[in-house]
């Protein structure tokens, strides 16, 4: 049986809503606030995925074994 997962708004929508709540924060530029809003709005899983995507896109983390499904 398929497990039901609660519906969640897309991360960008959640982040945009959160950013509005940071209007009054002093000393940070809108760009800086937008990054923190993204971090606040994301779930731990989404936060980790962002870090991992970034690390892998820079080639910092590479799998030690190629995936079995890889083909040339």
């Amino acid at each position: 049986m398929k497990k039901k997962t609660p519906r969640q708004l897309p991360l960008a929508v959640r982040a945009a809503r959160l950013l509005r709540r940071l209007e009054k924060v002093r000393g940070l530029s809108p760009a800086e606030k937008s990054v923190h809003a993204l971090g606040l709005a994301a779930t731990p899983e989404e936060r980790w995925q962002m870090l991992e995507d970034f690390a892998r896109s820079n080639g910092w983390w590479r799998p030690s074994k190629p995936k079995a499904t890889d083909s040339c």
């Binding site: 709540r21 940071l22 940070l28 923190h36 899983e45 936060r47 870090l51 991992e52 690390a55 983390w61």
Partner: protein
């Protein structure tokens, strides 16, 4: 428990880190126990306290943290986060910040700045539940 910048990322600070720091509640001389466990999970052992998981993720095993108390003292500051269907203990941001302030390398100071900014934003967001600022009960008239 998860500590360091990985713990900060899991709690919402969007900084970068190259490794995952796990604080192990064992005396350092027992590092082999952790190493064997990692090896059984398919990790490659790179040093006494460093392994690479099969997907390439570098993991550091830490047995004492600069600037903080012992494991049991710090465990009360743990936050439990749900991650990949498992609840993981994560050191609270304030304690991560304390440790980074004690270590004080350049990268720690940068991380510290990010953590403080994040906490500032978190506080501001919490002060406005629901995301809508309520002004007054009387509607504003246009014009």
């Amino acid at each position: 428990m998860l500590i360091g910048m990985s713990a900060a990322v899991a709690q919402g600070v969007l900084g970068t880190t190259l490794d995952v720091d796990l604080w192990i509640d064992l005396p350092p001389r027992q590092y082999m126990r952790v190493q064997n466990l990692a090896r059984n999970l398919g990790a490659t052992v790179a040093a006494n306290t460093v392994v690479y998981l099969e997907d390439g993720t570098p993991v550091n095993f830490i047995f004492a943290v600069t600037g903080l108390g012992n494991f049991n003292q710090e465990y009360k500051y743990v936050r439990r986060l749900r991650f990949r269907d498992v609840e993981i203990p994560v050191l609270a941001l304030e304690r991560v910040a304390k440790s980074k302030a004690a270590v004080g390398r350049d990268k720690d100071l940068l991380h510290l700045k990010l953590i403080h900014e994040f906490l500032q934003c978190q506080k501001a967001a919490a002060e406005q539940p629901g995301g809508h600022r309520r002004r007054s009960k009387t509607p504003r008239r246009g014009g």
